[in-house]
Symmetry: C2
DNA sequence: CAGCATCCACGATGATACTG
DNA sequence: CAGTATCATCGTGGATGCTG
């Protein structure tokens, strides 16, 4: 009874191996699709946010993981960090141009997951 | 010198926490964005394939991970498994309707990663 | 060919405490 | 507030060997 529609193959030209193991794409993909990476990128797609704001919104993340994930994304040039030399400290994070491009692709995916999760993970009602 | 363009916020309505921890979306997202999940889904987006074919194309995957990932995706109703009672055994995997929907969103993301990986991960030439 | 069962290692992640 | 340092652990994932 499973739906099994399989329209025309998608246009893809890089899928032959699916990628070479250890190629840059794999690394980038791992950063981006990491457990917390997706969530942070999505959160930031709504605009710049402070550390504490991100921590609160990304429910369940530890400080360590937040710091680590942000650093990775920053090194990848997807997120930009802006620290203000005030006391108490204030640091804002935002998407770079690249990060924004990426989030534009990530958002529909996450939205789909959000819409279908209930049915898929729980009852198939 | 980093590009720092930040156009209008993307339309998103579910991002307030970013999701509740432990909600179905998180689980589904973890399955889909898992290290091998993405790659398998992408590989299958080009059409049904046999176990051995998937194993070969998804370079670097172990049998254990292939089996495990396929099972998860099958339980989630994204991949369908068709075993033929012949000797030697032949099993084909393909995307379900849901799986195809998903892969349609995944492909642009992966393509983007593929196109930008070199620059992002390696030299920023 | 297409798996499953086991054992094992290490890295990812969490909890806690401390600091500029 | 925005982190960093340290430690304990938990699970992911690899290697191997066996089977229908």
């Amino acid at each position: 009874m499973e739906a099994d529609v399989r329209p025309a193959p998608l246009p893809l030209s890089f899928t032959d191996g699916v990628f070479p193991a250890g190629c840059p794409s794999r690394i980038l993909l791992d950063h981006v699709t990491s457990k917390w990476g997706v969530l942070i990128l999505i959160a930031l797609s709504e605009g710049a946010q402070r550390w504490s704001e991100l921590r609160r919104r990304t429910e369940g993340i530890s400080e360590k993981m937040l710091a680590q994930t942000l650093k990775t994304l920053e090194r990848d040039g997807l997120v930009s960090r802006e620290a203000q030399p005030v006391i108490p400290p204030r640091v804002d994070y935002s998407l770079t141009g690249k990060g924004y491009e990426l989030s534009a692709l990530l958002v529909p995916l996450v939205a789909w997951a959000f819409d279908n999760a209930e049915e898929i993970i729980n009852g198939k009602a």
